[in-house]
């Protein structure tokens, strides 16, 4: 096996093994090993991408076992692009999680000594006096979560406090070492989806991603469990639909390999009905997992309720796995846009053609709905993380605008077309290139946005936009990061979002879908509106709002909000990792400044800068997509 093939296989296996290893390690070691594994995985991905960008697809059958029962891996241009984005975003988020352990979630720590806990609670009424006062500016008592009601994501996800009776048996602290094995397992699953060579592996990869993602969301503490459960149900429903579709395809064409199946469908008219049914089922299942409107209700609580390091992974990466599979299946199975001369194409004819076209138009309409309704809903949000989550719901719509062009690349134009510079055969590739560039740009920018929001939430204990007025003054780097991410999401130059919008708009005009231009314009305006709302709030300089904005006391992580056991793990971020049982009274209540160092702002800033720099990579992206493509 060549280096690239080994690297490709390693990109799937290494994170998986690392995840298993991390599950066994004590919490203190996990950070270092996790980061090391992340760097190694990124290196393997780099090797694979380099090979693909040289123009060669990479294929390997693990263990030498061929299809249909062996595991075949296959990386083409589309895979390489998604692999690269996952590696970049994953690496940066690992760095952030390593710097800010508090961002990895909440965990319950049993408190043994009830009496001492009660005494400590009484004594902690006002820690402003005493030795801690030097570091605590002002204590803002975190709102206590009533223990009889499940806090919905609206009310305060993961808000620390106690559970159960006062002086109760469990205290919630920030930092959950379970993040590391779960995230690396998720990464393994994502890579598996991106390099899978047949539907079976795709299914397994999707399930791995789903399972670990549910776990990651649940790290967010009590506020996130309900959302995680809902996500679980949706993920399973989607996967089972996909499984049925895969089974149908195998039954009809006799092979799991998508490319071979497409050839069989193209050659044999009788398989068309089954193939179409399979297409509908897998589209439905994947749209469930993509949260396409109107099936979007699960996404906002899950993404908003996740811990700070998890939300970017969810919005930027996990969603992309489903998108990738959807793109792969449609590009190969629905080939009517490509014409006879290009590659194996499913020559669906007659009523089947109408059905496929109809399905494509439905997807396009739902995408438009997502863009407009999602944007309007985002505009109405008063909290930062739900706003960004609704932004994801909206941006999903951009990618679905590709489908009407795919099924109908030469629709009737309003007037005679003069000579166009876009050849007929390159309309569909341009549309696909546009959707992919938009997805990649979205990954980078959304991750930056969620990291920035997470930073603010960890620092100040709130993500209410009203409460964060003027925070920009203290964190100029963060505001710059949000600004750059805004450029990427709105699709202004320079960014992959702009390149994607350009290509999509070009394809839309060349294929006669002029309505898409209006949709793109409206969506851009809406995106700009709600992101500007965030930026303006942060830039506001009114003096009176600054005084309200204080760092959430570190003790809040340790339950200062209700009086709980000792704050020993409040003194050092590292110490929190040790997960030791503690009933000792902590001397100082450290502020969240220690827990959320200013250097952590580099993570969203780096992603923001990358969002803009990749704006120059439009041509490279389009060229890379050509590798292994069916056109």
């Amino acid at each position: 096996m060549s280096a690239a093939e080994t690297a490709m296989g390693g990109a799937v296996l290494l994170p998986l093994l690392a995840a298993a290893l991390l599950a066994l390690l004590p919490a203190a070691r996990r950070r270092a090993v996790g980061c090391g594994a992340a760097v190694a995985t990124a290196g393997l991905v780099l090797l694979t991408v380099r090979e693909v960008s040289a123009g060669r697809t990479v294929e390997v059958a693990l263990g030498g076992h061929r299809a249909p029962l062996g595991i075949a891996l296959y990386a083409d241009g589309l895979s390489a692009l998604f692999l690269a984005m996952t590696a970049v975003v994953g690496l940066v988020v690992c760095g952030y999680a390593a710097l800010v352990p508090a961002s990895t979630g909440m965990r319950a720590v049993a408190v043994r000594d009830r009496a001492r806990a009660t005494a400590a609670a009484v004594g902690r009424g006002n820690p402003a006096a005493g030795p801690a006062s030097r570091r605590v500016r002002r204590v803002r008592i975190a709102p206590r979560v009533p223990s009889v009601r499940i806090p919905e994501w609206r009310g305060g996800s993961g808000v620390p406090g106690e559970s159960g009776e006062p002086g109760g048996r469990v205290r919630w602290t920030a930092s959950n070492p379970g993040f590391w094995p779960l995230w690396l397992a998720c990464w393994a699953g994502l890579n598996a989806v991106f390099v899978s060579g047949d539907l079976f592996n795709t299914y397994v990869g999707l399930e791995l991603v789903g399972l670990s993602a549910v776990g990651l969301v649940a790290l967010g503490g009590r506020g996130a469990w309900e959302a995680a459960l809902r996500y679980l149900f949706i993920a399973v429903a989607g996967s089972i639909l996909f499984l049925i579709a895969a089974g149908l395809i195998v039954a009809a064409t006799g092979t799991l390999d998508l490319r071979l199946a497409a050839e069989v469908v193209a050659a044999d008219q009788r398989t068309h009905g089954t193939a179409l049914l399979a297409l509908v089922l897998l589209t439905l299942g994947l749209c469930l997992k993509l949260a396409l409107m109107p099936l979007h209700a699960w996404l906002v609580p899950a993404h908003a309720g996740s811990p700070s390091a998890v939300s970017p992974l969810m919005s930027a990466l996990v969603i992309k796995a489903s998108l990738f599979v959807l793109l792969r299946c449609w590009i190969w199975l629905v080939g009517s846009g490509f014409g006879d001369t290009i590659g194996p194409a499913a020559q669906v004819a007659g009523t089947d053609q109408a059905a496929a076209t109809w399905l494509g138009w439905v997807l396009g309409a739902l995408g438009t709905l997502a863009l407009l309704a999602g944007g309007l809903l985002a505009l109405r949000q008063t909290r930062l993380k739900p706003l960004i989550a609704y932004s994801t719901v909206a941006q999903v719509g951009y990618w679905f605008l590709l489908f009407p062009i795919l099924v109908d690349p030469a629709s009737a134009t309003l007037e005679d077309r003069a000579v166009t510079t876009l050849a007929e055969a390159s309309v569909v590739p341009a549309a696909i290139g546009g959707a992919v560039a938009l997805a990649l740009g979205h990954g980078l920018a959304k991750a930056a946005l969620f990291l920035a929001a997470g930073f603010l939430k960890d620092r100040y204990g709130t993500d209410e936009i009203e409460a964060l007025h003027g925070a920009g003054r203290r964190h100029p780097a963060l505001v710059m990061a949000i600004g750059l991410a805004t450029v990427g999401l709105v699709g202004l130059p320079l960014s992959l979002g702009f390149a994607g919008k350009w290509q999509l708009a070009t394809a839309a005009v060349a294929s006669g879908h002029y309505w898409m231009l209006a949709v793109l314009v409206a969506a851009t305006l809406l995106t700009a509106a709600y992101l500007l709302k965030v930026l303006a709030a942060l830039l506001m300089d009114a003096d009176d709002s600054i005084s309200d904005l204080v760092a959430a006391p570190r003790g809040a992580d340790g339950g200062a909000g209700g009086g709980a056991g000792g704050a020993a793990d409040g003194t050092a971020g590292e110490g929190a990792n040790s997960g030791a049982d503690d009933g000792t009274d902590g001397a100082d209540v450290a502020t969240a400044d220690d827990a959320v160092p200013a250097a952590a702002q580099l993570a969203p800033l780096a992603l923001g800068v990358l969002t803009v720099l990749t704006g120059l990579a439009g041509v490279w992206t389009a060229d890379l997509l050509e590798v292994g493509a069916p056109w």
């Binding site: 559970s163 048996r169 397994v204 995680a228 459960l229 399973v236 499984l243 039954a251």
Partner: protein, 94 residues
């Protein structure tokens, strides 16, 4: 209508019932059970498809086995989550 076609329809029917209940009901455990019903239905469907060829199609059988394992895993995680949530609701027990 052969026996296999009957099983096909049966599997599809069970899966559809499970899916509907999963999406529409609000009780958590009921949803968990519905999820399993959906799984069973889909697996029955796949087995019916597999049984169409003379030696049962090994690929589809492999899909079924994988599906079983994954459904079990998800059911386990779901049960733990439900237990935690309802423990929260009752007040106090993690």
């Amino acid at each position: 209508m052969t026996v296999l076609d009957l099983y096909l329809l049966l599997g599809a029917g069970i899966a559809l019932a499970g899916l509907m209940r999963l999406l529409l009901v609000s009780d958590r455990f009921a949803r968990l059970i519905a999820m399993n019903v959906l799984g069973v239905g889909s697996l029955a469907l796949l087995l019916a498809l597999a049984a169409r060829s003379a030696p049962v199609d090994p690929v589809l059988s492999a899909l079924v086995i994988t599906g079983l394992v994954i459904t079990v895993a998800f059911t386990g995680v779901g049960a733990v989550l439900i237990r935690r949530i309802e423990g929260e609701e009752r007040g106090g027990e993690p």
